[in-house]
Symmetry: C2
Subunit: 139 residues, 2 copies
């Protein structure tokens, strides 16, 4: 699959679409194809380089049910060839629970259009009434 994305928002839409469909081919087509690729899954360590990042998505997709995930862009700082988006992901689980995840997504313009370079997602903030979120920040 070869996809050319004209801006960072198009890559982001494709990213969450690939995630929703657990589509490894689509995911591969939108990540940058070099060692600058980097990813922090919720609760996980930093993965660096395209191979490590793509292996992590393949592993996640093998184990998962297609998630009900949406996203809201909270800010987008777009430069000539680099864009930094702050995003709130909305994840609904089968039992009706809703979780919010804050993510920093970085996109870079390459010779093959815009690609995702970094996805850093934190553990879910749990909605009011549950207790996952610490009462005060750890730092």
């Amino acid at each position: 699959m070869t996809s050319v994305f004209n801006d960072s928002h198009a890559v982001e839409t494709a990213f969450y679409d690939a995630f929703r469909r657990l589509d490894t081919d689509r995911m591969r087509a939108l990540w940058i194809d070099d060692e600058s690729a980097a990813c922090v899954h919720p609760g996980g360590d930093l993965l660096q380089g395209r191979i490590a990042v793509m292996e992590s998505w393949a592993e996640i997709f093998r184990a998962a049910q297609p998630p009900d995930v949406g996203f809201t862009v909270l800010s987008a700082d777009v430069r000539d060839d680099l864009a930094i988006h702050l995003v709130r992901e909305h994840v609904a689980s089968a039992d009706g629970q809703h979780a919010r995840v804050i993510a920093t997504n970085v996109y870079r313009r390459t010779d093959n259009g815009w690609r995702m370079q970094l996805h850093h997602a934190s553990l879910p903030l749990v909605e009011k009434g549950t207790a996952r979120q610490p009462t005060r920040p750890l730092h």
Copy 2:
């Protein structure tokens, strides 16, 4: 306090120094002075704008003991006026526990030198033998 930083690494060093000293004035002097300031503390929601970000640091510093915190730069993508660093923070607590925190730090070059624009820190990865880290990513 007016500080002018010549590059993103100088801001980063000042950031962790201010954190180590719980020094609110130093912290204020290195953050960007506009609404693009954004911060995700470990386990927390996104804070946007200089006022919200600085209030969060002041609150954290009031409650905290000076932390034993170091950092390792895992990657630095530095452009003309924007730099994205991926950092591993090393935090040692008084009881000898060590924790690692992955952070995305974004810096921007302004008319007053380089400033911090974004700090996104995840919850600590706990060292082997403890159980905080999920066995597989949540997404």
